[in-house]
Symmetry: C2
Subunit: 253 residues, 2 copies
DNA sequence: CTCCTTTTCAAATGATTATTTGAATTGTAT
DNA sequence: ATACAATTCAAATAATCATTTGAAAAGGAG
């Protein structure tokens, strides 16, 4: 078999190294501590969090998950029916762990100033990206869901994320003032959420583009920046809204 | 077999519908027009762009790709050696198509004002997200790469993206002024790139969260917003830099 | 203890799919 | 036209995995 025409100039020399092999170090999070005394079902869920986060749905094998959970290979099908349902339950499980630790509202009442609520929300969205424990799994799983358009995502959005989005938009509307339009809210929301859920915050991307394991101070620094950057953007949008209103109130005369 | 304990409350009623089945409509881009006269290798690359974009690496089968390319199933292995190398060449191919159509520098010379260069860069980064033709494949493939930490990504970053990032940081440094630090540049760069590469701009996410097929006016609206929002963020950062300098110049006295 | 249900287990099944093979076909240079 | 290399093709191979099976073990109620 000829090798020349394959244009393998991007393969490492030797050309037999598999790109997807572990030789190209992945920035894996540490394996979770799984209590061997806990029920098989729970062990499977925690192991599944880890494996699905690491590999996504299709690269994860039931074999790997049950091995990590120290359960038999048939245990997944017994407890969850099939792999798909395990995946579904895993996402819910992970999401609960994350929101239990990082409250999207940061314990603030609905009546707190919008600015404070926005600060709390941004913080709660960014922190899990730097959490190496189980609270960090949601971010990874969500990133996979962004990649893999499954019906599951639609459903999860409607059930769980939609209410959170509505709260978020309410904050923005309050900050942008009474003359803001739906578009104003959507656009500012887009800019802020994009920063909080940025792929650049994912561990294996950080490894290349940012500091791999930022200190607590670094993380706070990033959060403060996103808040400041976003508030500045909102202020700018407010000026646009004001100018628009002025133009509309005094039409061509 | 018992079904109760599976906690299938999130499965559609009937419970036999497969979540990953096409029944949950994916927001697929239209199939590319593949010239049947063009060489098999090119037909395969274009077909691979489409299939890999749609399904990611592991969900894509050589069978599906060769069928779309109207080539024999053995053609991939003949022309590219194996699936991995096909994937590699596909990413390069897609990236070239995209940058040929959307020049990262928008034809501007290095000497153009930083503000204009930034505007051009943001535009070139966002537009492909709304391109349903071949120039849109890069965005999808990159999104997959964000999900799958392969060595390929490291390599592609170094070879191709690093130089572009350096140009980008130079613009920011120019805009932030002489007193800005590396951190200032990194943080602003992070905020801007996160918006331009936002998962929220991906077609199947847009389908849920934004307008599915925005008009040209909508796209321009979004681009203008990101530019404005980002410039406001940069201005804010400049004020922080100025304040920091002031504090440093007149230490506790 | 006995009966019954729930859970675990090792091995088998069945489906999918990347890759190989060797023959057939096409294209090209002499 | 002939020889030779490049390309295409259908069928076979081999590996991987999700899922099933049926027996064994554990647990609980009477």
């Amino acid at each position: 078999m000829q090798l020349d025409p394959y244009n393998t100039d991007s393969l490492k020399e030797g050309s037999s190294i598999k790109i997807f092999s572990p030789e190209f170090a992945k920035a894996n999070r540490p394996e979770p501590e799984i209590d061997p005394e806990s029920p098989t079902r729970d062990r499977l869920l925690l192991a599944a969090c880890h494996v699905f986060s690491k590999n996504g749905y299709h690269d994860s094998t039931i074999s790997e998950i049950s091995k990590l959970a120290k359960a038999n290979i048939a245990a997944v099908n017994y407890h969850f029916g099939d792999k798909q349902n395990l995946y579904l339950q895993t996402i819910k499980y992970a999401f609960k762990i994350t929101t239990d630790k990082y409250d999207p509202n940061g314990n603030l009442p609905e009546t707190a100033p919008a600015r404070d609520r926005l600060t709390a929300r941004i913080t709660a969205l960014i922190r899990p990206s730097f959490d190496l424990g189980p609270a960090g799994y949601t971010k990874e799983l969500f990133a996979w869901e962004m990649g893999v358009p499954t019906g599951l995502f639609d459903q999860f959005v409607k059930e769980v994320l939609e209410p959170l989005k509505n709260q978020f938009h309410a904050m923005l509307r309050e900050l942008l003032g009474p003359d803001c339009t739906q578009d104003d809210v959507h656009l500012c929301g887009f800019s802020i959420i994009s920063q909080c859920h940025s792929p650049l915050l994912r561990m294996h991307v950080r490894k290349i583009l940012l500091k791999y394991r930022p200190s607590v101070a670094d993380v706070n620094f990033i959060i403060e920046h996103v808040i400041d950057f976003s508030l500045a953007g909102i202020e700018s949008r407010k000026r646009i809204i004001a100018k628009r209103k002025q133009t509309n109130d005094s039409p061509d005369s």
